[in-house]
C-alpha cells in the first residue's frame, strides 16, 4: 500500500512504459485510412478551436499556437533532416577512404582532409602526402610492387565485407523495415495505408547508421532513396509531438509529403527539385498548402546541411559543376541518342531487377539474406578494385565525369595532347586530340559501364538500405562521357565535314564532354524512375546553369517515351506491384467497360452480404457475426426484408463499443437488442436494456448504383480516397465494393494475377 502511494507520483511519468490501449478512431496495422473521416475530424477540431478562441486571451494564444504548429514541425524536420544528411555525408567520406588507408595524424580524417594542410602535394599527384598511408605501407612498409598491391586489394575486400556484414546484421536484429529503398512503401503509406513501425524511431536510427556502412562498402547503390525514408521518419517523429498531427492520419500525411521533399533536397542540394519530386513521385494528395510548407522544409534542410559544410566548400552535393560553355543545335542528335540509351537501359533494368526480386521472394534464395549480401559485396569488391573508375566511390566517379577538362585537371580522362605554346586562359581551352591516357580511360570506362549495369540489378532490393539514383546516374554519366569524347574527337579530326563546319572552327572550344555526361545521367535516371519535371529541375539545380535545360529536357523526354513504349511502370510502381501493396495509382487509366455489378461482392454463388439490421439484432448475434467473418465493416439496413440502407459501421468500432458497453453500462447482456435509431424500439416489458450504438454509425456512406461504370467508380475511389463503396439498386442494398476489389479487378483486366494483391 505504502509503495503504491509512493509510486503514484512517479507513476504518471512511467505510464508510457505500459502497453497502450487502442483508441477509438485509430487504425489497425496494414489497413487503409478513411480520408473523408480524417478530413471532417480535422475540420471539427479547427472549428472548435476557432470558436473557443473568442472566449479569452489564453484561448486566442492557443489558437495561434495551433496555427503555427505546422510551421514549427516543418522547421524541426528541416533541421533534423539536414543534420542527419550532414552526418551521413561526413561519415561516408571518412569510411570510404578507410578501405584504402588511414590518416596517421588523426584517424578521423578522410584522405582529402588529411592532406589538406600538407605541402607535399604536387601537380601530378595531388593525393600524395606523408600523413596518409595506405594499408600496405602501414602493415608491411611497402608502397609499390606486387605484394603491396595484393595486400591493398585484400584489405579493401575485407573492409567492404566487414561494413556490409555489420549493416545487414544491424538491420536484421534491430529494424527489419530499414532495408530497401523505402520509396515504394512511402508512396503506399502516403496513399492512405498504415504500416506501423515503418517510420519509427528504431527504423530511423538503423537506417541512418547502416546507410553509411553500405555506401562505404563500395556496393553499387546510392543514398538518395533511403534519405527520403530517413526524412519521412523525422517527419513522423516530430508530428507525433503535436496532437494536431499525431491524432489525425490525414494531416500527418501532409507533413510526410513535406518531409519527403526535404529528404530529396538534402540528397541533391535541390530544394525546388525536392518539392517537385514529392509532388510527382511520392505524394498522393498534394494540396497547395503542402506546396509552400514543403518548400520551407526543403529550404531549412538545405540551409542546415550547408552550415555543416560536409564537403568543405559550401557546396551541398559532391558533383556540383559550374561551367557555362554553350551547346549547339547539332549536338541535339547525340543527346537524343543518349535519351534512347537511357530509356532502353531503364527498361532492361526494371525487367531484370523485378525478375531477380521475384526469384528472391519465391525461391530458396530468399532464405539466406545475410549470405546474399556478403556474396554480392565480395563480388563487387573483387571486380571493382582493379579498375580505378570503379574503385573510387560512385559519387566521386560522377563528379569526375561531369567535370570539364581545363588546364588544371591532371586526371587520366583529361590527358589531351596540349599545344606547348598555348597561353589561353583556363576555361577556354580549344578541342584537342586525345592522348594515350584518354584512350586508356575509354576502355576502362567501357568495362566499368558493363560492370555497373550488371551488378546494380543484383544489388537493388537486397536486405540493406539501397537507393538507385546514384548508380543510374553513374551508368548514364559513363555512357554520356564516352559519347562526348567520341563527338569531340570526331569534331577535331574531321572539322571539315558539313555538320561540324558551321559551328566548330579549329581552335574553338566546341564540344564539352562533361555536358554529355550530365545529359546521359539525366536520361538514365529518367528511364528508370520515369520522372519528368522533377528530374530536369534537379539536374539543373545540380549544375547551376539554366542554359542546359533544353538538352536535359530533350534527353528526359526521349528516354521516357522510349521506356514507356516497353512498359508503363517505373521502378517504384513495379516494386509496389511485386509486393502487392494496395496502391491505387493516379497515373493508371482505367479504360474497360465493366460495370459496378461485375466487381461488387457478393458475386453469384457466394454467401449473401453480412448486414446488421437497425433494431432487430441482439448483442450476441452481432458478436457471432463479428467472430465468424473478418470484414472490416458492415452495412446497416432497415430490416432483412426491405434492405434499405441506413449507414455503415466499422468492425473495430463495433468491437470496442460492445466491449465498453458490457463493462460499464447497466444491464447489457447477450440478449440485449442493439439499435442504431434515435429512439429505442418497442420492446416487451421484461426484456433487457437495449444498447444504442448510433454514435458509431456512419450515416453518409458512399453509394453507387449497380449500373455505374467502373471507370467512374475507380475515379471516385481515387479522388476521394474511399475504402469501400456500397452498391444499391432502386434504393435497396445489393453489395459492396472495397478498394481491394477494385485493385484486383484492375489487375485482372491487365492480365496480372489478382491474388497477388495481399494484406487481406
Amino acid at each position: 500500500m505504502v509503495n503504491a502511494g509512493a509510486m503514484s507520483g512517479s507513476g504518471n511519468l512511467m505510464d508510457f512504459l505500459d502497453e497502450p490501449f487502442p483508441d477509438v478512431g485509430t487504425y489497425e496495422d496494414f489497413h487503409t485510412i478513411d480520408w473523408l473521416r480524417e478530413k471532417s475530424r480535422d475540420t471539427d477540431r479547427h472549428r472548435k478551436i476557432t470558436s473557443k478562441s473568442k472566449e479569452s486571451i489564453w484561448e486566442f494564444i492557443k489558437s495561434l499556437l495551433d496555427a503555427w504548429s505546422g510551421w514549427v514541425v516543418m522547421l524541426l524536420i528541416g533541421l533534423l533532416a539536414g543534420t542527419l544528411a550532414g552526418v551521413i555525408d561526413l561519415a561516408v567520406d571518412w569510411m570510404t577512404d578507410l578501405k584504402e588507408g588511414v590518416c596517421l595524424s588523426a584517424f578521423w580524417y578522410s584522405h582529402e582532409q588529411c592532406c589538406w594542410t600538407s605541402n607535399e602535394t604536387t601537380f601530378e599527384d595531388r593525393d600524395k602526402c606523408p600523413l596518409w598511408q595506405k594499408w600496405s605501407e602501414l602493415l608491411v612498409n611497402q608502397s609499390e610492387g606486387a605484394s603491396a598491391y595484393i595486400l591493398n586489394y585484400l584489405m579493401y575486400i575485407l573492409w567492404a565485407l566487414l561494413f556490409a556484414f555489420l549493416a545487414v546484421s544491424l538491420v536484421r536484429v534491430f529494424a527489419p523495415y530499414a532495408c530497401g529503398s523505402g520509396i515504394p512503401e512511402i508512396k503506399t503509406i502516403l496513399s492512405g495505408f498504415i504500416i506501423r513501425g515503418y517510420l519509427g524511431k528504431w527504423t530511423l536510427l538503423i537506417k541512418t547508421v547502416t546507410l553509411v556502412l553500405v555506401v562505404s562498402s563500395g556496393l553499387s547503390l546510392g543514398k538518395e532513396g533511403p534519405l527520403v525514408h530517413v526524412a519521412c521518419c523525422c517527419g513522423n517523429f516530430f508530428s507525433s509531438l503535436f496532437s494536431k498531427y499525431s491524432k489525425n492520419e490525414g494531416k500527418r500525411r501532409e507533413v510526410l509529403s513535406a518531409a519527403a521533399a526535404a529528404g530529396v533536397s538534402v540528397a541533391f542540394g535541390a530544394p525546388i527539385g525536392g518539392v517537385l519530386f514529392s509532388l510527382e513521385e511520392v505524394s498522393y494528395y498534394f494540396p497547395l498548402k503542402t506546396l509552400w510548407r514543403s518548400f520551407f522544409a526543403a529550404l531549412v534542410a538545405a540551409f542546415t546541411l550547408r552550415s555543416i559544410n560536409p564537403f568543405g566548400n559550401s557546396r551541398l552535393v559532391l558533383f556540383y559543376v559550374e561551367y557555362h560553355t554553350p551547346w549547339y543545335m547539332a549536338e541535339l542528335f547525340p543527346f537524343i541518342l543518349l535519351g534512347v540509351f537511357g530509356g532502353l537501359w531503364g527498361t532492361l533494368f526494371i525487367r531484370c531487377n523485378i525478375a531477380w526480386c521475384r526469384r528472391r521472394k519465391t525461391t530458396r534464395l530468399g532464405k539466406y539474406p545475410v549470405l546474399e549480401v556478403i556474396v554480392v559485396t565480395a563480388i563487387t569488391a573483387i571486380i571493382a578494385y582493379p579498375n580505378p573508375y570503379t574503385r573510387q566511390s560512385t559519387s566521386e566517379l560522377i563528379s569526375e565525369l561531369f567535370n570539364d577538362c581545363g588546364a588544371l585537371e591532371s586526371s587520366q580522362l583529361c590527358d589531351y595532347i596540349n599545344d606547348p605554346n598555348m597561353t589561353r586562359p583556363v576555361d577556354d581551352i580549344p578541342d584537342r586530340p586525345a592522348g594515350v591516357g584518354v584512350y586508356t580511360a575509354m576502355w576502362q570506362l567501357a568495362l566499368a559501364l558493363i560492370f555497373k549495369i550488371v551488378v546494380t540489378i543484383f544489388t537493388f532490393g537486397m536486405k540493406i538500405p539501397s537507393g538507385l539514383f546514384i548508380p543510374s546516374m553513374a551508368v548514364g554519366a559513363i555512357a554520356g562521357r564516352m559519347v562526348g569524347i567520341g563527338v569531340e574527337q570526331l569534331a577535331y579530326h574531321h572539322h571539315d565535314w558539313i555538320i561540324f563546319r558551321n559551328w566548330c572552327r579549329p581552335g574553338a572550344d566546341c564540344v564539352t564532354p562533361g555536358l554529355y555526361a550530365m545529359v546521359g545521367a539525366a536520361a538514365c535516371l529518367g528511364g528508370v524512375t520515369r520522372m519528368t519535371v522533377s528530374l530536369v529541375v534537379i539536374m539543373f539545380e545540380l549544375t547551376g546553369g539554366l542554359e542546359y535545360i533544353v538538352p536535359l529536357m530533350a534527353a528526359a523526354v526521349t528516354s521516357k517515351w522510349v521506356a514507356d513504349a516497353f512498359g508503363k511502370e517505373g521502378i517504384y510502381e513495379a516494386h509496389i506491384h511485386l509486393n502487392g501493396y494496395p496502391f491505387l495509382d493516379v497515373k493508371d487509366e482505367f479504360t474497360h467497360r465493366t460495370l459496378a455489378t461485375d466487381v461488387m461482392r457478393p458475386r453469384r454463388g457466394e454467401p449473401p452480404l453480412s448486414v446488421l439490421t437497425q433494431d432487430s439484432m441482439t448483442v450476441e448475434d452481432v458478436e457471432m457475426l463479428i467472430k465468424e467473418t473478418d470484414y472490416n465493416g458492415f452495412p446497416v439496413v432497415v430490416s432483412r426484408d426491405s434492405e434499405r440502407l441506413i449507414g455503415f459501421a466499422q468492425r473495430r468500432e463495433l468491437i470496442l463499443a460492445i466491449k465498453n458497453a458490457r463493462q460499464r453500462q447497466e444491464g447489457i447482456v447477450s440478449n440485449s437488442i442493439m439499435y442504431f435509431t434515435e429512439e429505442p424500439p418497442e420492446l416487451p416489458a421484461n426484456s433487457p436494456h437495449p444498447l444504442k450504438l448510433r454514435r458509431i454509425l456512419n450515416l453518409s456512406p458512399f453509394t453507387v448504383t449497380d449500373h455505374t461504370p467502373m471507370e467512374t467508380v475507380v475515379d471516385i475511389f481515387r479522388k476521394l480516397g474511399l475504402r469501400q463503396c456500397l452498391v444499391t439498386r432502386s434504393g435497396r442494398l445489393l453489395g459492396i465494393i472495397t478498394k481491394k476489389d477494385v485493385l484486383r479487378h484492375m489487375a485482372q483486366m491487365a492480365n496480372q494475377d489478382p491474388e497477388s494483391i495481399m494484406f487481406n
Binding site: 529494424a175 536510427l205 588544371l408
Partner: protein
C-alpha cells in the same frame, strides 16, 4: 479500472514511446539534433589556422612544371599575387602566368568532423554491444522462462499467443517497479521486431 481522460490522452499521445530502447534511440536522436544545431555557431566561431586556406593551382608553363600553392590567407587576399611565393617567373611574365592559375578559397571545420565521426562510432559501438547483449547474454538471463523458449519451436500463432500470454502475465498484476515495467516494454519491442522480421525476412510479404 476506468482510466482517467488525462491518462488516456497521455497514452494516445505517447503511445509511440512504448519501449526503453526507443527512449535510448530518442535520446541519441535528440543528442544528434542538439549537436547539429550547436555545430552551426561553432563552425562559424572556430576558425583555427588549420581550417582555412587559399589553394592556387598553376599548370605547366613553358619550362616550369605545374605546382600547387597553399597558404593561410583571408578571402580577400586569395589571389595569385599573394599566394604564389616564390614567383617562378620574372616580373613581366607574372601577369601571363597568373592568368593561367586558378585560386580557390576553402574552409572546413575540423571540430565538426571530429565530433561527428566520434559520435557516429560511439553509436555504432553501442548498437553492437546491445546486439551482442541481446543475442548472447539475454537468453542466459531468461533461463527461468524456459517454457517460452520451448514454445518458440511451435507454429507461429501459438508462439504469438504464448508470448502475448507471457507479456500479459508480466503486466497483469500492474507491475509496480520500474524494472518490471522496463522489462515489459522491452518484451513488447522484441515482439514487434520479431513480427517485422517475420514479415520481411521469412514471409517476404513486404520489401521483397
Amino acid at each position: 479500472m476506468p482510466a482517467s481522460p488525462l491518462r488516456k490522452s497521455l497514452h494516445a499521445q505517447v503511445s509511440g514511446f512504448a519501449d526503453p530502447a526507443s527512449l535510448i534511440s530518442m535520446k541519441l536522436l535528440s543528442l544528434v539534433a542538439v549537436v547539429g544545431c550547436l555545430l552551426v555557431p561553432t563552425a562559424e566561431a572556430n576558425k583555427s589556422s588549420e581550417d582555412i586556406r587559399c589553394k592556387c593551382i598553376c599548370p605547366p608553363y613553358r619550362n616550369i612544371s605545374g605546382h600547387i600553392y597553399n597558404q593561410n590567407v583571408s578571402q580577400k587576399d586569395c589571389n595569385c599575387l599573394h599566394v604564389v611565393e616564390p614567383m617562378p617567373v620574372p616580373g613581366h611574365d607574372v601577369e601571363a602566368y597568373c592568368l593561367l592559375c586558378e585560386c580557390r578559397y576553402e574552409e572546413r571545420s575540423t571540430t565538426t568532423i571530429k565530433v561527428i565521426i566520434v559520435i557516429y562510432l560511439s553509436v555504432v559501438g553501442a548498437l553492437l554491444l546491445y546486439m551482442a547483449f541481446l543475442m548472447l547474454v539475454d537468453p542466459l538471463i531468461r533461463k527461468p522462462d524456459a517454457y517460452t523458449e520451448q514454445l518458440h519451436n511451435e507454429e507461429e500463432n501459438e508462439d504469438a499467443r504464448s508470448m502475448a500470454a507471457a507479456t500479459a502475465s508480466l503486466g497483469g498484476p500492474r507491475a509496480n517497479t520500474v524494472l518490471e515495467r522496463v522489462e515489459g516494454a522491452q518484451q513488447r519491442w522484441k515482439l514487434q521486431v520479431q513480427e517485422q522480421r517475420k514479415t520481411v525476412f521469412d514471409r517476404h510479404k513486404m520489401l521483397s
